[in-house]
């Protein structure tokens, strides 16, 4: 074998191996890549993905053609000897007008599906064709959720249902959910790639974003990540959406609408005293129980959860049903008593930039009591 042949073989092997490596990155499934926009799991995400694939195919054809022409030109018209004098041309107007108009035409065609999707994604559909009734909602009423970005976690308010929760967004499957995205501090971006595109959370604005998850017949989790740089723990600002069958959703709503029960004795009762007293937890966290009931518009304790018109946005999450959630602190820590203890002891050490401070006045025993109380909040 000649030396040049061997080199050529090496180039081929490198190309094939490299190409296979690249292709292997395209494989995988939802378990391995839970945040892939290329694996949509809802109507709106699927529409966006469809447009992306149309564009990709057209772009790939253009790419192969142009790239091929470049390679051919560079190979065919390389200088073979130094005395060559190629024919001198200054251009060809017909040809040039052609290659101006042709891309413009291709783009004009591509504009049609793009624009129709842009307007489609902004249209709130009616829900009269709802197949499975949702007891918590009126027949023609889409579920509305206000999504509020905080440094560094997401708050969710369900104004029709009087529910306030955090990090874990619970929705009925197969239903269009109209979310309104906003923020209380800096700009964040709510992004659950398998369900919908990004929507920035801009202070002072409530921007609608439609979300819909496929019907799977069981509670299914979709993961998300804050997508606008928001300072120290931007990377630790995660979220997940749980899409449930209508019956499960109704049950979840009923549980979330309950007020917390005050423990009657033991560590948990001491913890409750600390929570609302010297622990100052209630300075930043909402917790609804009989003594701290949510109010209606007139300032009286709301009897019907739907009358809880004055849900307050505080610096920290609503903890009324803390242990109904899987994770906490921006969806990054598993919710268990050890993690909760470490967090309350020194939150900034657990998560850079955490607004929850180190509490000098709390002993480890105090924190154990608070954790015991929080564990009762199912």
């Amino acid at each position: 074998m000649k030396k040049t042949d061997r080199r050529l073989w090496l180039v081929w092997i490198a190309l094939v191996v490299g190409g296979l490596l690249l292709l292997s990155a395209c494989g995988g499934n939802a378990d391995e890549y839970p945040q892939s926009a290329l694996d949509p799991a809802g109507e709106y995400a699927r529409k966006t993905d469809h447009l992306f694939k149309i564009t990709l195919i057209i772009a790939a054809i253009v790419f192969v053609f142009v790239e091929g022409m470049i390679i051919v030109a560079v190979a065919k018209y390389r200088r073979r000897n130094n005395d060559e004098r190629p024919k001198q041309t200054h251009g060809n107007t017909v040809l040039e007008i052609g290659w101006t108009m042709l891309p413009a035409l291709v783009l004009a065609v591509l504009t049609v599906p793009t624009l129709s999707l842009v307007f489609e994604l902004a249209d709130v559909p009616d829900t009269s064709d709802r197949t499975v009734p949702i007891a918590s909602l009126g027949a023609e009423e889409p579920l509305e959720v206000t999504i509020i970005g905080h440094q560094f976690w997401w708050e969710y308010q369900y104004p029709q249902l009087g529910i306030q929760t955090a990090n874990e967004l619970v929705i009925p499957e197969g239903e269009t959910v109209v979310t309104n995205v906003t923020s209380v501090d800096v700009i964040h971006s709510f992004w659950v790639p398998r369900l919908a595109g990004k929507q920035d959370a801009v202070p002072g604005r409530e921007v609608p974003l439609l979300i819909k998850a496929d019907v799977t017949g069981e509670p299914t989790t979709y993961y998300g990540q804050c997508a606008e740089f928001c300072q120290l723990s931007h990377a630790n600002m995660r979220a997940h959406v749980v899409a449930m069958p209508a019956a499960d959703f109704d049950q979840w709503v009923q549980e979330q609408q309950q007020l917390a029960a005050a423990p009657t004795g033991g560590d948990a009762a001491a913890g409750r005293d600390l929570f609302f007293g010297t622990g100052t937890c209630s300075g930043c966290h909402v917790l609804w129980d009989d003594d701290h009931a949510p109010m209606d518009a007139d300032g009286n304790p709301a009897v019907d959860p739907a009358d809880r018109s004055m849900i307050r946005t505080m610096a920290g999450p609503n903890l009324t049903h803390l242990f109904s959630r899987d994770r906490f602190a921006g969806d990054i820590f598993e919710l268990n008593s050890q993690n909760l203890h470490d967090w309350i002891r020194d939150a900034p050490a657990q998560k850079p930039g955490s607004i929850m401070p180190y509490f000098e006045n709390l002993t480890d025993g105090d924190i154990d009591d608070i954790v015991a109380y929080l564990e009762t909040l199912k």
Binding site: A59, V62, F63, V66, E67, M69, I70, A73, V74, Y77, R78, R79, E84, R85, P86, K87, Q88, T89, H90, G91, N92, L95, E96, W99, T100, P103, A104, L107, T111, T114, L115, V118, F119, L121, A122, Q151, V181, V184, D185, V186, I187, K198, Q199, D200, V202, P203, G204, R205, V207, A227, E228, F229, Q231, L232, A315, P348, P352, G353, I355, P357
Partner: protein, 387 residues
């Protein structure tokens, strides 16, 4: 007045500094107003910042090379990726264009120097000062940590959560001030350079060189000079507003009192998108000069290449909001800017085809100088498809 009182006989004024006369050595570089020397100084300075920007991103990449990496703290990481972006855009790619422009434009149009040599020198020194000022923030309380776009209200720090008992936990240091002022300084350098190029190219071309006989590189420098002239003042506004918000409690971007954070994004990107073309058009000009030379064939369709460059310049001011598609413009805004963004691809495509036409039927010598333009051709076409 007679010939006896010619200016040469007038004695130099006794006050003030002597006109510097060194032609070689250290002082010749410090005091020079020569366009070629300033061009070299721009290039060397840009290369120094290039190394710095590379080191910054090297640390970022090292941190990312393993899960839960602990090479950098969260704050250091934010500072380094912010400084990497800022350095590469404002202190590397922009001055490289100024370097080529300064060195080549007067030579290519047959002028002895640029129209305002002293302002040219002022521009360089302002840019250098701005760059040093920006970089010095590492040693003076921490570099900016607001990402290279430095969106408000993150950069202004005047959002409710930072108030009262919570202040101090995630306070942005003085880095943002260094960022805003540093970019202002380099902006002064860019503006003076832009005016200089426009005046030079309009007034100092050799006899007989009309606009449609100008080298394409000179055309592209003229176009980016106009882009700079119209876009730098726009970015100056939010930069100053950020400084005012941080130090004088101005509330331009504070939604709780009627300000709007999106105003910052609009103003930034009305500059920021033309900036993309400010960075690429000089390179396109260079490709349009190198390919004909190495193919031994004139540029294919000179006027198409020139006018597509001008079209990019004009359209570049009409696509800024495609950087804000997720910020909640509403479907009408998104639709309008989608269409504008798609069609700005047309003039870019025209250039690629014209370069291809230049090589086609030529005698291409693939030297080092020529492989980078053909590489750019390939990069651009693949990037264009991805977009």
């Amino acid at each position: 007045m007679t010939a006896a009182t010619a200016p040469t006989t007038v004695a130099a004024p006794k006050t003030g500094l002597h006109r510097p006369t060194a032609e070689t050595g250290f002082w010749s570089w410090i005091t020079t107003v020569d366009h070629k020397k300033l061009g070299i100084m721009y290039a060397v300075t840009a290369l120094v910042f290039f190394v710095l920007g590379g080191l910054e991103v090297l640390l970022v990449r090292l941190q990312l090379a393993q899960a839960d990496g602990n090479i950098l703290t969260a704050s250091q990481y934010n500072q380094l990726f912010t400084m990497h972006g800022t350095t590469m855009v404002f202190l590397v790619v922009m001055p490289i264009a100024a370097a080529f422009g300064n060195y080549l434009v007067p030579l290519m149009i047959g002028a002895r120097d640029v129209a305002f040599p002293r302002i040219n020198a002022l521009g360089y020194w302002t840019f250098l000062f701005g760059g040093i000022f920006l970089t010095s923030s590492f040693f003076l309380g921490g570099a900016p940590d607001c990402a290279w776009v430095c969106y408000a209200p993150l950069s202004t720090g005047t959002y409710p959560a930072s108030a009262g008992v919570l202040a101090g936990t995630h306070y942005l240091g003085s880095g943002v001030d260094f960022w805003a002022l540093g970019i202002l300084f380099t902006g002064i350098g860019s503006l003076t350079g832009a005016i200089n190029f426009i005046v030079t190219i309009f007034n100092m071309r050799a006899p007989g060189m009309d606009f449609m006989r100008m080298p394409v590189f000179v055309w592209m420098m003229l176009i980016i000079s106009f882009l700079l002239l119209f876009s730098i003042p726009v970015v100056t506004v939010p930069l100053i507003e950020v400084v005012y918000a941080r130090h004088f409690d101005a509330t331009f971007f504070d939604a709780s009192v009627g300000g709007d954070p999106l105003i910052y994004q609009h103003l930034f990107w009305i500059f920021g998108h033309p900036e993309v073309y400010i960075l690429i058009l000089p390179a396109m000009g260079i490709v349009s000069e190198v390919l004909p030379t190495f193919s031994r064939k004139p540029l294919f369709g000179y006027s198409f290449v020139v006018f597509s460059g001008a079209a990019i310049g004009f359209m570049g001011f009409g696509v800024w909001a495609h950087h804000m598609f997720t910020s909640g413009l509403g479907p009408m805004g998104v639709a309008a800017f989608s269409v504008a963004t798609m069609f700005i691809a047309v003039p870019t495509g025209v250039k690629i085809f014209n370069w291809l036409g230049t090589i086609w039927g030529g005698s291409l010598r693939m030297s080092t100088q020529c492989s980078s333009p053909s590489g750019l051709l390939r990069c651009l076409s693949s990037a264009g498809c991805l977009v």
